[in-house]
């Protein structure tokens, strides 16, 4: 309980597109400038910059010296944060720690990605996935793309709990219902369970409609101390809790029921810091790059019992009007895939009450998740429009 840890006072977007609209660096600059403007600041008011990017994009796409492009004064905090899909959420955590310890007074965190090419070859997303622990072992079996490990995990989940294709379909449909209300979402055409079950497999048991919709774009947020939170034009969004969890071993053990993912540790830490439990969460913004992952996260963060997320979603609880709105912008599946900044930005929009047609009736305690690897790396935030959660 007590006072919040930091506040998000600026949010900025670049253009988003499936076409080539500029380099990763160009997009990052556009998002940072928009976020700084949104906070009512000038670049020289910022003294911290934390950079995140896809772990499969070249490091030189988004270097530290991007600071030279922006007109910042000498910075007090500057780093590239890299924890695969958990990076953006972790950057907000690191910014918060710096703000609390007077290592910075206003920090901008950015994620940018420009890997989608208009030929739609998907080549940038076709890397070999390492699960066994022996370098390149998987190449001889064709385990390509992030989807491979998640298809293995999804199949195991189905066998363990009796979950079905329809459970994954229900999740994808719920996200599309939210996207219908979001003009920024890329995929807004409604589909039925019948449509879902007739759609094409990518890697069975996952279909095209179970997969994130990758775009080129960037998102940035500006954070400051909670003492200064009221000095900005937009309603502040407070950070109340944060946690990380990283599984002991990477790869296969992350799919293994005996070792589990890093989620449990991240959840326990974030809830404890916020002084609440999962029962107090009334909105989730999750890193749901695959429908199966969305269900798994609802269970791993204590919002549903193990094996029950499919039924929970099918009953409509996560859909518009439900008691636990989940991924209110359409998430990764129907909105757009910009890794951890997809859930972060939607949480800020909802907490500001700026969701327009998709604004949920309640968002007092929002769980935001980022995760990466094969669910190896987890980071979580508890955000709220309120200074106190009690």
């Amino acid at each position: 309980m007590g006072k919040p840890l930091s506040s998000i006072v600026g949010l900025g977007f670049s253009q988003f597109s499936r076409e080539d609209i500029g380099s990763t660096r160009d997009l990052a600059i556009a998002a940072i400038e928009a976020a700084v403007r949104d906070a009512g600041l000038d670049a020289d008011d910022l003294d911290g910059l934390l950079i995140t990017r896809s772990s499969s994009a070249p490091a030189h796409d988004l270097p530290l010296n991007i600071r030279n492009d922006l007109g910042f004064k000498a910075l007090r905090l500057l780093s590239i944060v890299d924890a695969e899909g958990a990076s953006a959420v972790q950057a907000i955590q690191h910014a918060t720690l710096a703000l609390q310890n007077d290592m910075a007074s206003a920090v901008v965190c950015v994620f940018a990605d420009a890997r989608v090419d208009s030929s739609a070859s998907g080549a940038a997303f076709s890397r070999i996935m390492s699960l066994t622990g022996i370098t390149d072992w998987e190449r001889q079996y064709g385990l390509y793309g992030a989807i491979g490990p998640y298809a293995l995990a999804a199949r195991r989940y189905m066998a363990r709990y009796g979950a079905t294709q329809a459970d994954f379909g229900a999740y994808a449909i719920a996200c599309r219902k939210w996207a219908r209300k979001n003009p920024s979402a890329f995929l807004r055409k409604p589909f039925s369970m019948e449509d879902y079950l007739a759609s094409r497999w990518v890697v069975e048991p996952l279909r095209m409609l179970d997969c994130a919709y990758a775009v080129n774009g960037a998102i940035a947020v500006v954070l400051t101390t909670c003492e200064r939170a009221m000095d900005f034009p937009r309603p502040p969004v407070y950070v109340h809790g944060m946690g990380q969890g990283h599984s002991r071993l990477t790869g296969l053990p992350a799919l293994d029921e005996k070792s589990g993912s890093g989620a449990a540790g991240a959840a326990a830490q974030a809830y404890s810091m916020a002084g609440i439990g999962p029962g107090d969460i009334d909105m989730c913004q999750l890193y749901d790059a695959f429908s199966y992952l969305g269900l798994q996260l609802l269970e791993d963060y204590g919002l549903c019992k193990p094996g029950e997320a499919g039924a929970f979603v099918a009953e409509g609880h996560t859909s518009p009007g439900g008691r636990l709105p989940v991924n209110t912008g359409g998430g990764h599946l129907s909105g757009f895939y910009l890794q951890g900044m997809t859930p972060v930005s939607e949480a800020v929009i909802q907490a500001r009450g700026a969701g327009a047609e998709r604004q949920a009736g309640h968002c007092n305690a929002i769980l935001v998740n980022g995760n990466g690897g094969q669910s190896d790396y987890h980071a979580a935030l508890i955000l709220s429009p309120h200074r106190s959660l009690t």
Partner: protein, 129 residues
């Protein structure tokens, strides 16, 4: 040319990996075991393998299907879909990624018994037991 040389994107192999792959190149599926406790070590457990006294034990070849994924989309030219990627659990405990050779992929089922086999080219695969 053995597996260590033929890797498409050469990256440094650790001694641990070289050991495992040198057995594979001889057509032997071996797994690391803690010599003192008799506990089998996963192929990911590098730290344990560095500190513990390990021995490389011949696996029985008996295994079960922990999970599987069927690729319907083509990612690279060499792999014609549909094909399966299998997460296999050896009866001794360690897990690895492989594939199940079968004429009836529709009958793949989690928990089904498998047996290890080396293809003529030296690739480790599994077949229904």
């Amino acid at each position: 040319m053995n597996r260590l040389d033929s890797c498409a994107s050469p990256r440094p192999y650790s001694g641990f990996e070289r050991q495992f792959l040198s057995f594979i190149d001889r057509g032997e599926l071996r797994y690391p075991r803690n010599r003192l406790t008799g506990e089998p070590l996963g192929l990911m457990e590098r730290a344990a393998s560095r500190t513990a006294h390990i021995e490389w034990v011949m696996a029985s070849g008996k295994a079960s299907l922990y999970s599987f994924a069927i690729y319907h989309q083509r990612y690279v030219a060499e792999f014609e879909p549909p094909y399966n990627v299998a997460h296999v659990e050896l009866e001794e405990g360690p897990c690895l990624i492989s594939t199940v050779l079968t004429d009836t992929p529709r009958l793949l089922e989690i928990g089904m018994p498998l047996r290890a086999r080396f293809e003529p080219g030296g690739r480790l695969v599994f077949v229904p037991a």
